[in-house]
Amino acid sequence: MSENRKSLINLNSGLTRRSALKGLGAAAGLVAAPGFVRYGQAQSSEPIKIGFQCHRTGIGAAYGRWYERVTTAAAKRINDAGGINGRPLEIIIEDDGTDPKRGAEVVEKFANQHKVDLVYGTLFSHVVVGSAPAAGELKIPYYVVSEGYHVASGKMNRYCVQPGITDVKAQARSMAPWIAGNLGKKVTLVYPDYAFGHDHRDFFTPAIEAQGGQVVAKVPIPPTETSFTRYFPQIPRDTDVIYHVMVGPAVLTFVKEMGEFFGSGGPQLFGFIDSLEAVDIASPGLEFLEGSHFWEGMPRYAQSDQPDYVTAYREAVGIDENGASVNDAKDVSTAAHMFGCWETLNIIKASMEACDYKGPDDRAAMIEATEAMTEMEAGPDHPQGKKLFNGKIHQVFGEQSISQVKDGKLEVVHRTSIEDGAYEPEADYTAMSF
């Protein structure tokens, strides 16, 4: 007890002017912190604020870094050209830690504290799905750049839109005709045994069957696996093509072990570049990929026949001819996905201009303006290629690239058509209320 009293006395006598000032300073700092600032309503002359939900940390950090660079470049281009409805664009970034819970909190922070006009830019599916309820409840437009099937499935809400990047269902479907026609009809699927892998399994299987092919084996790999050799004997001898979509740090081991197992005489390999985004194709162990094929949303390597607007886009976002940062050749981009940020911001601009967006009261009108969009021509606003937006399912459809590894670089060998990936809509967001 006497010790308690002693501490109390010490505490009282320790309250000097210096510590009082420190306390005041800390309190002032807290009040000035972003968390406590009250933001006024946007006036017509003020910037249009876009909350960028960015994977700055966590498993999506490599993607987040490049999404941020592309977003900055796209916003600069829009602002240099006069902004949106004469108002400058301001990007406010919050880190979601690539975590669905934090994602929802960040959406709330954008809407209620930063008072942004809309939220944009999320990639990882679980963050999109975790954040979507918050966006719907707060009635704030949520433009994602995720390539998941979540938006098109109709399970989100009227405020969730994916207009700048195609979804995994369309991507997987559009690969089937070319694979059946060029690599072979007997396909073995090797995929991670969770939602991302299941999407590929469920969407690719009917598509290859429609081409007269068949999936001869499905090899799900548990997510905790770090060595894969024991799964390869499950691949039937008569397999023509191995379709692989492994992701995460284990992908290098996976590719290396697959190469060692099959040597040079194995089946054809077809993969999604998701596995190797931000990874140098010339990394040790990846030489086994020489000659194999990949899906790419947009080519990583500069192509000899690329249009001027693609060259301009690559310059603006700061990537060299190998798809790495112009400032650091080892900093490889996520080129197959990050174009989606560029295109989505341009669609946001077009939607706001179409509905003469003035402020948060026009959010519903803005969603309707996006829903009304259909064809988007390839060009400076859509450097990845031509697109077709389906307003009912809030999802865009587009062309895809199939590239082959030649001399350690990816060269586009085929462009799929929009029709290759098209499917019947399973939902209608336009019938939902705001």
Binding site: A33, G130, D193
Partner: protein
């Protein structure tokens, strides 16, 4: 003037905290009200964890499975079976109790480090099961519970759980119920026996207590509270996903309890709230916010070795429960 007894002071403090939290619903800016609603739900998770760890001395690294059992128990019945919120919430609680009973029965055959490892392994099994049954759970991507189904039915009408004020008040109600239950428990003879088991298990055994049954009851009650938090999270925030079953969510309640003060009734709330704002504020300034979090935690350990409330109790307010 009569001196207040520690018991009266303690009850008055807890009632005061709940009244203050009620007032905050009307005073806080919109964003912070949302934060508090989330923190109150997660504080229930921490309070459940504290019952096992703080009061009974069971250092578990698997409590994410109890939270996730509640989350999935409520979420999957709403999503797939279209149950209304009340029975779904009940399903969440039941799932938590069953999982806690089974895991407790097996894991309590071990103690100390072995208990940590066994609970960790069970939680990992639970986590992998949520991925394995992706057809129903959508695994790591998770499920959105339709907003129109997140309504709480009463004889006089319905409450829309996606409304910010309703959500806050429902979260506060759950928090207040669990806080009252914990306060009652730790002051009751049963709670005293849990503390005694933590302090000297052998002596309790010699005194004739069935230590295993007491500990099992503590794990089940802890699992029940954690599941209540998980089920509430599902219906209030509308998202159910594997991430909540991952190891991270077993470590977070441990952290919240340690920061707030183990074996204190209000420590879990303070710890959860403190950690939320440290991360929220630091991540607005720097991507290295985890480093800031680390430095703050070192500071807390240096100046509040028994957690914030634990140190307050030790130095100034010995009557705090």
């Amino acid at each position: 003037m009569t001196r207040l007894t520690p018991s009266t002071k303690s009850i008055a403090l807890h009632v005061g905290v709940v009244v203050l939290l009620l007032a905050l619903n009307f005073l806080l800016p919109e964003y912070h009200r949302g934060v508090f609603a989330r923190v109150l739900v997660l504080a229930v998770f921490a309070m459940g964890y504290n019952l096992a760890f703080g009061y009974t001395g069971l250092l578990s690294l698997g409590h994410a499975m109890f939270f996730a059992a509640g989350l999935y128990g409520a979420g999957l019945t709403i999503y797939h079976l279209e149950w209304s919120v009340w029975p779904a919430f009940g399903a969440g609680l039941a799932a938590g109790v069953v999982v806690a009973l089974v895991v407790g029965f097996l894991a309590l055959r071990t103690t100390g480090v072995a208990f940590m490892i066994v609970t960790l392994m069970f939680a990992q099994v639970f986590y992998l099961m949520t991925l394995y049954f992706t057809t129903y759970t959508r695994g790591e991507e998770g499920l959105v519970l339709p907003q129109e189904m997140r309504v709480l039915g009463f004889p006089g009408g319905v409450l829309d759980l996606s409304d910010p004020s309703t959500r806050y008040l429902v979260a506060l109600s759950l928090f207040a119920i669990v806080l009252a239950a914990i306060l009652f428990l730790v002051r009751a003879p049963y709670g005293r026996s849990l503390i005694a088991i933590r302090e000297n298990e052998e002596r309790m055994r010699m005194l004739g207590y069935d230590v295993f049954v007491n500990k099992l009851m503590a794990v089940v009650l802890s699992g029940l509270f954690c599941a209540a938090s998980g089920a509430a999270y599902a219906v209030l925030f509308g998202y159910v996903g594997s991430g909540f079953a991952a190891i991270q969510y077993s470590i977070l309640p441990l952290l919240w309890v340690l920061v707030g003060g183990a074996a204190t009734t209000l420590g879990p709330l303070i710890g959860t709230l403190f950690m939320f704002y440290v991360i929220d504020t630091a991540s607005s300034y720097t991507t290295a916010h985890l480093m800031v979090v680390g430095l703050v935690l070192i500071g807390v350990i240096l100046f509040f070795p028994k957690g914030i409330i634990g140190t307050v109790r030790e130095r100034w307010l010995p009557w705090l429960p």
